[in-house]
Amino acid sequence: MDFGFKLSPSSAVNLDTVDLARFDKLTSLVPDALTCIGCGSCSATCTAAPWSGMSVRKVLLGLQRGRDEEVDKMLSACMLCGKCTMVCPRGINTRHLILTLCRLNQKGEVVR
């Protein structure tokens, strides 16, 4: 029975319940995404960051921690300038990663 009381949800990330559909689809199409070490070069150099807080590092992290809304907001700010790809020390093709992500819907399927 629902008495109208709710416990406030914990702000902890519950890795048991996080939906990894988009992330798994991304890594099957762009396997290098798994090699990100979170150094933050991409975020530091991002052209769109001052205007929107976009950061490829945060996008990858957000996908793995279930922060989909934030991820979508950041993805819509990307100007595709390519600076992040130039500086990534792991050689990840971040532009390809972003464009691939933009083609996935929430369930992780490629839209046609």
Partner: protein, 340 residues
């Protein structure tokens, strides 16, 4: 019957070569040291103080140089070509002479990554950007116009290391502890300066290294920021502006500095790669020379008669280098003792 007359060529008279020569002499051999610089001592001779004890480099080097002063050493000598004969090696030297030897020890050391290749950091473009080597030389000589009386200093870790764009995906091992050492030294020199270390990961694996880190944080107030510097710009007054992301807080960070030190990484000496290929010794895919077995036989190559000691097979600390030098000397001794 031990052949105590074989000629052993030791390429490189840094601490690896000197220590190996010392051990070989103690075992009764007569090695020959070939060194391209005007003096022995290699990189250690350029350094001021060594981590983690801050002991002067001279305390380690001078006794070693004194004990090996009687060994035949060819200074200012480069190797023009090297080739393998049946079980001997022929080195043609730059002074025209030829050295025929029965064993070769590579103690060629490392080469420092050329920081000007990371153009976005501005080495060679901005006056206030120097490398770890430049700073160490300043500690020794106190001659460098770029270093005045800095109030804010930054250290950028991993310049040319762990970076596929720089052509070196390996970690250079010793730069993190060196950065902390130099940060402490700078703070001792300029107590009112703020020192920032921009790192991706802090690799402090060795004996007492972690204590050093604690000292740096607690006793010297050095700021550690987890974020790789992406760009360095210039402010109006000639100071440098560093842009990074403070990944721990997820926010971009900007700071104006009087001095920026780039921790240039360790890559293999290109001469060593060339000599190795000439005599059929493989170069590993990380660019360093390939040992017979990375765990159990790091001082031996796959070719009989060719041995390694020190940074030619990968980034090394001083204790590791000295241990390898002694081990290589013993391996050489075993090589000549066993009937073939």
């Amino acid at each position: 019957m031990v052949n105590r007359q074989p000629v052993i060529a030791i390429i490189g008279a840094g601490i690896a070569g000197l220590e190996a020569a010392r051990q070989l002499v103690a075992l009764g051999y007569k090695p020959v040291l070939v060194e391209k610089a005007p003096a022995v001592g290699g990189h250690v001779a350029e350094w001021n103080r060594l981590f983690p004890d801050m002991s002067p480099a001279a305390d380690l080097l001078d006794p070693l140089v004194a004990q090996t002063s009687g060994i035949k050493t060819l200074l200012n000598t480069e190797i023009s070509s090297i080739n393998r004969l049946k079980d001997e090696y022929n080195l043609v030297l730059s002074d025209g002479s030829s050295l025929l030897c029965q064993a070769v020890l590579f103690s060629t050391g490392f080469h420092l990554f050329d920081a000007s290749k990371k153009e976005e950091y501005g080495y060679g473009i901005y006056d206030r950007v120097i490398t770890n080597r430049d700073l160490e030389q300043w500690f020794n000589t106190r001659h460098d116009d770029r270093i005045g009386h800095p109030k804010a200093v930054g250290f950028v870790h991993c310049v040319g290391s762990r970076d596929v764009k720089a052509g070196n995906t390996q970690c250079s091992k010793v730069c993190c502890i060196t950065a902390i050492k130099q940060a402490i030294e700078l703070t001792e020199e300029f107590p009112d300066a703020e020192v920032y270390c921009f790192y991706m990961d802090l690799r402090l694996f060795g004996k007492k290294y972690e204590d050093y880190y604690i000292r740096a944080q607690r006793d010297y107030g050095i700021h550690f920021i987890r974020g790789r510097v992406s760009e360095v710009g210039e402010a109006i007054d000639g100071r440098v502006v560093v842009k990074a992301e403070d990944t721990l807080s997820g926010k971009p960070v900007k700071v104006t500095l009087d001095l920026l030190v780039l921790m240039a990484g360790i890559v293999c000496n290109p001469d060593a790669q060339y000599y190795a290929r000439e005599i059929g010794v493989s170069v590993d895919d990380d660019g360093f020379l390939k040992s017979r077995d990375n765990l159990g036989a790091i001082t031996e190559s796959s070719r009989p008669g060719v041995f390694f000691a020190g940074a030619c097979t990968g980034a090394k600390t001083i204790p590791e280098t000295l241990a390898e030098a002694r081990s290589a000397a013993l391996a050489i001794h075993r090589y000549f003792s066993n009937p073939r």
